[in-house]
Amino acid sequence: MSTDSTTKRLLDLNLTRNLLISLAVLVAGMLLLESTDRYTNTQLSSLTYYAIAAIGLTALTGLNGQISLGHGALMAVGAYTTALMLDTETPLPFPVVALVAVVVTSVVGFVVGIGAARLHGPYLAGATLALAVALPSVALYFKGTFNGEVGLTVASPRPPEWFVSFIDAVSGEFATSSKYVAYLGLMCLVVALFFALNLRRSKIGRHWRAVRDQEVAAEIAGINLGRTRVQAFVISAAYAGLAGAVMAIVVRLAAPSAFTIVLSLSVLTAAVIGGLGSITGAFIGAAVLVFLPPWVTSLSTGSGLSDTQAAQMSPLIYGIVLILVMLLAPGGVMGTLSTAWRRARLRRPNPATPTQKG
């Protein structure tokens, strides 16, 4: 009896903790949005969808050991669904639209996941790479629905009354549509974060890690390998779908050119830089994706490169960073920090050990 109540209390503790973290992120996000200018607001909106996608991928790769180069394509599914649903006289509220986008992307993720569940490592990378190249051609083929190369313009959701008066009360400013979009992105991110935090500590998360680390042992312990892998892929796809939905309203366009293999690799870069499996790392990686390119671009145009050349500096840096992280710090930012912290803690009880100072 007592163990039962202890686990229950522990569970509550976890749930409360995760709720508090999510609320803290919400408040911090609101403070950031209200204290920065419009340009930074737009950048922060981009950060929300990159972070959502990176959380989804970091969970898949970090916790379950599967890699996906198809997340850009899955984001396209979410974005196109959103664009089509918002393109009516009286569109449904965005949360409903986002939910539909998540469901549709999950279904696509399920189909791909069934195939992916039996693959690992390079095979899975190759198969999802094929998906990333194949899926945009669907948009080109069904021109009538998806408007081919040009893509669909997204009708940005208009801020409702209560939001306008809320922003007025908070900052005394008029709530623009882009501010509303930024808040929608933030809300989606917080919901996504809350789910991810719970997932990691739940039975599901433990199963994912077990399958990642010891296939055979996990199977003997009664975990269905195939089902667990498909589940991980579907949940990760759901994140990509949500990210795509937010991306659609932030960018206001769903076009094949936005969902190239480079997008998939950018999201992977974010997850790898931050540290695979780390949710904090996903935030760090997303911030790098948003704030690095403008800085690099201005730096390289300043040093004499043309605009088109400068635009290629960011992917060049992503690529080099991917290689360097793998060579020097495969744990990414968070992995390296936690190793350093653990080392420091091990050293502390023994003051006789000479500390190295540079």
Partner: protein
Amino acid sequence: MNGDIQKLLNILLNGLTQGIVIAAFALALVLIFRSTRIINFAQGSQAMFTTYVALTLLNRDFPYWAAFAIALAAGFLIGAVLERVVIRPLEGGMELNIVIATLGLYVAIQALAAILFGSDYQSFPSPVGVNGFQVGDTNLALTPTSIFILCTVGVVVVGLTLLFQKTQLGLTMRAAAFDGEVSRILGVKVSHLLTFGWALAGLVGAVAGILVASGQFIYPSYMETLIVFGFIAAVIGGLDSPVGAVVGGLLLGLVNSLVSGYVASGLVTLAAFVLLMVVLLLKPGGLFSSTKTRRV
């Protein structure tokens, strides 16, 4: 000649040319995979880069074959350097780390090419004509360029076959790929052979890059679909069988051409993806795998 038959004939000829290029690229992937169990996702970017090297030389009035040879040498060198600098330190670590590193190379080389050579479409010459042959009053989808492509890949295949069956070097490479540990004990410098394998793959990839560009336009991401097609062909062929890679390439070329001719050209990549999934689910070892069972 009957119009339908003419169409089918041209589709088949087209598929043959496409397929043989895919086969050449798949060979490059297989060369690396069979000795290291790594799929080099940067192979396409490397080939794209060496093709730009060739184009730059051609624009400076180098003779065609000199530019061709220098591009191949560049491919050989790049392959060797990448193996030594990036791949070697990661060996023995997690499988995923090498995959991610080759993906990093993929993006980095592509972006570097765009910075150095520009992102515009540039036409790449063919050493021979690009106009189709005529039989009577029928136009065939067979050009001097496609014959040049077929012959070049033929030379590559024969060269590789001779290397792996007749030379000391090739036989040692096969031995090292079959059992690295035993080869090492017998005094084979396996690490040199791995570098040579990557270099050789870089060379074969460079050939494929130039062939697919011949008479076409090139731009930094022009190899993107070929990476996917090459991977699919290699998987169909079992990933460690050069013969399988060639057959897989030809098969995929024909399927692509048939889909493009009779269904819709826009659905070729999707059809190839479906074909890949079907092969991986039904016969994950590929059609020509030398090992009986393997987890993929």
